[in-house]
Each structure stands twice: as C-alpha cells, then as structure tokens.
Amino acid sequence: MTADTPLLRASDVTLVYQGKRGDITALQDLSLDVQDGEFVSVLGPSGCGKSTLLKIAAGLVPPSKGTIELAGSIVKKPSPNVGVVFQKANLMPWKTVLENVLVAARSLGRDMDAARKTADDYLALVGLEKFAHNYPNELSGGMQQRVGLVRGLAHDPSVLLMDEPFAALDAMTREQMTLELQKLWMATKKSVLFITHSIPEAVFLSDRILVLSERPGTVVMDVPVTLPRPRSFETLSDTTYNDICNQLRAHFSSFMAGG
C-alpha cells in the first residue's frame, strides 16, 4: 500500500435491485475515496441511496457492478477492519452494555481481556463507564446510541462507517453527540465515512463532504472543509463554516425546488 492508496475506495459502484414495478437503480457509477485518518461525510436527500452505499461498503450487500476496496483489497464480505454504527442503536436487549460492545471482539475471536480493556476505555470516553453492566432498556436513547458508537469502535477497526447515527435523537442530544464524536475521532484518528442529511452536521464534523445526487445516486460535488480543529459551538458563527453551509444549501434547494 503506497502513501496515496486510500483506505477505502469505491469504484463505479452500481446497485440495481428489483422493485415491485421493475428494476430500480439505487446507485450509479459511484466513486469515492477515504484517505487514512480522514473524516468524510456523504450528504444527500432521502432515498438517494446513502444507506445502500454504506451497506455495500460494510460488505453486507454486494454491488451489481463496481468494487469497494479496503486498503487495496476488494471487499466481498464484511471485514474485521470495519466498524459500523447504525441509525438505530440496535442493541440486544438481552445483553448488558458491555456484552453488547464486545459482540465484535467475541465474533472475531479476539483476546477478551484486551478487548474488555479497550471497551472500558471507550465507554469512559463517552461517559458511560458506570453503565457497563446495565441493560439497554435502562438507558436513554442518547446513551444507547453512545453505546452503539462504542460498539462500532471496540474491535479497533481502521474504518468506521456511520449511517445517520444521530438521526433518531432529539436536537439537544444530537448536538452533544456531535461533539462526542469529534472527541472520539480526534482521540482515535479512525477513517470515517459518515452518512447524513444534515448540512450543519456534515460541515461541522468533516474534512471533506461528498454530495450525492438523487436516485440513482452518484457523487456530484466534493467539498473540502478546512476549518481548524477541534471545532466547537463557536465554529458555528465562523464565516467559512457558514459559507460552506450556504453553498451546500444552495445546491440542494436548486434541485429540490417544490419540496
């Protein structure tokens, strides 16, 4: 792997599936790169295939055409080097927080002592160290989503795929979680592919934003975000931040005229 081989690369990914009235092309010739340690957001309207892209990158769904490469090798099935954070926390109610977090480590046959230590560290990082032995139904939505975050990281993947992880949270928790995620990312420097439909969130978190078209989804814009880190609520009043947000909003309103 050379210095400029991206950690994650999608090449001309196309996905066609059978709908009720014929074939539906969710993604068409979609290509993107995520470099090592980069935080890349995929921004797009609902139904443009963002979640499908994530499932393909995770190895859950094979593309109809094109490839996904992880550190140079083609992804044909889920890789232990990838962690996924879903839109819903998807915690198993019959397992404790800690057991939920360790699911990947167990499935991958990792050393459980080391895995437990990593899990404890990450739980502490999101402020949930005291809840390791609680059950998910004893936690609030925000807390559950934080557990989901830790679960995606606990087996130390190099790539983190996140599918609108804060969409199901209330606005205040969402803001908090955005800061938590930044903190986590800066501490661990994972490569992140972050799916969202929130412009402010994408600009706040990312090094780069990829804008997806409507279905069939393909990348139509690549917007770098060069704001300094760590970003805080003060960044929200920064001129560059707002310029980028406005640029993206203009793009979306132009083709979403009429709602």
């Binding site: 859950l60 890789s79 990838v82 996924v84 998807n90 397992k95 699911v103």
Partner: protein, 262 residues
C-alpha cells in the same frame, strides 16, 4: 401489602356471589342433583376424593402422560421449527405436510392412535405429543424468522458465524414467542390427554369423568373438572415463571402471541 389483599379480595367476592347465585338457583327451581348438586355436596365429594385417595392414581396418570407428552411434543416442535426456520432445504421438503397436519383437528386422530399404540399409556402420550407439537413448532419458526434483521446485520458486520447469530440473536429474539407457545401447549396437552382417555383408557381423570357420568355423579364430575383446572393453572404458572426468568428483558406485560389453537 394492600395490593396483595386487593388481588385476593375481589375474586373472592366474585366467588361468594357465584355460590350465592348457585344456591338461589337451586332454591328457586327444582333441579335434580345429577344436573346441578348443592355447592357443599361438590365440596364434600372433592375433599373425599383426595382424602380417601381414590382419585390420586388417576390424577397422577393423567399428569404423567401430559408431562411426558408435553416435554416430547415441545422438544420435537422446537427442533423442527428451528430447522425449518434456518434451512431452506428442510422447509422445501417438509413444510406443506406440516401445514396439512396443522389444519387437521388433532383430536380426530385419537382413535387412530389407540389402534397404533394400544390402550395403555403410549397412546395417551402420543396424543399429547401431537397436540403440543404445533404451537411450539409454529411459534419457534415464526419467532426465529421474525428476528430483527438489523440485529442480525450487527452480527453479520463482524463476521459472526451462523451458530453465533442463532444463539445470540435469533433464539433470544424468538424467546417470547416460543414461551407463548409453551404456555398454550400446557392447556392443550391436558385436553389431549383427557380426550385420549375418553376414547379408550383404564386410568386417568378422563376415565373418572366418564365413570361419574355413568353414575350420574355430577358432584364428582365437577370435582374432576375443578382438579383439571388446577392442574392447568399450575402448569401455566410454572411456564410463566420460567418465561419471566429467562426472557427477563421483556416489558412488564408479556403478550401472548397466539399462532395456533387446535
């Protein structure tokens, strides 16, 4: 404390009212005692049956056949339900026949079972097995198939093996539905045992019921019915106890998802 008292007091009041209505009805109309005896007569018969002891061998016989048949029926139902849910090939071969058998009232098979298995314990157990099989089978199959695909994805994403997904996601997900099936099968099992005894038996509460019918001993008939209700209740409460212990994460009120009533 007050809650516990309330739980008993209200049903007790209903019971007292029932007894009063019963006695009044007997007082108002001239009902022969083989149609409806006095409440005290029923109580005396009930007490005598258990203190004298003549009912015990019959009760134990029915209990044994029900228990053995229940365990076997549920075991087979669970295993088959699991295999059909997990392996498409098994489903292709077996499923249509299962649907056919399911649609048939199993009670109608009692005479067949008597011919095949004889007059003894075996035919009764066979009936109970047959009748207990279906609720568990259907509920296991449906429960496993209805496991949240998102939770399965969580496991797939970390390359979990099929067994791991089965034990850590699918079976726990299906747990509530499976236990609902186990609860239904308790009462169905008792029905199966009694019906098989009606068809041909030498022992059991079903035979006592028939003997009482022949003697026009309504007090004894009611006593047997009451005993069966208690047996069913004990079985039901036992299953529910284990349900709450094992499926500990479910909400306060466990819903009974009925998949089949034969």
């Amino acid at each position: 404390m007050r809650q516990h008292l309330e739980r008993f007091v209200y049903p007790l009041i209903t019971f007292a009212v029932l007894i009063i209505v019963w006695k009044t009805y007997l007082g108002l109309f001239d009902i022969p005692d083989y149609i409806l005896p006095e409440p005290m007569a029923v109580l005396n018969t009930l007490i005598f049956a258990y203190t004298d002891g003549f009912i015990w061998p019959h009760l134990l016989f029915t209990l044994r056949t029900t228990a053995i048949g229940y365990v076997m029926g549920c075991g087979i139902g669970f295993t088959l339900g699991l295999f059909i849910a997990e392996f498409k090939t098994v489903e292709k071969f077996l499923y249509p026949y299962v649907v056919l058998l399911q649609s048939m009232p199993k009670i109608a098979l009692a005479p067949l079972l008597i011919v095949w298995f004889g007059f003894g314990v075996e035919s009764k157990v066979a009936m109970v097995v047959l009748i207990c099989f279906f609720p568990i089978f259907v509920n296991t199959m449906v429960g496993i198939r209805q496991a949240d695909p998102d939770l399965i994805d969580v496991m797939r994403v970390c390359s979990a093996s099929r067994m791991r997904i089965l034990f850590h996601v699918k079976l726990p997900s299906a747990g509530g539905t499976i236990f609902a099936g186990l609860q239904i099968s308790v009462v169905l099992g008792l029905i199966g045992a009694i019906v098989a005894e009606f068809v041909a038996a030498r022992k059991g509460l079903g035979t006592v019921l028939q003997m009482a019918q022949n003697d026009l001993d309504m007090a004894l008939m009611l006593s047997v019915v009451f005993s069966l209700a208690i047996l069913g209740l004990i079985g039901n409460l036992t299953v529910r106890f284990f349900h709450r212990k094992i499926i500990f994460w479910e909400g306060r009120q466990t819903q009974t998802n009925t998949a089949e009533i034969s």
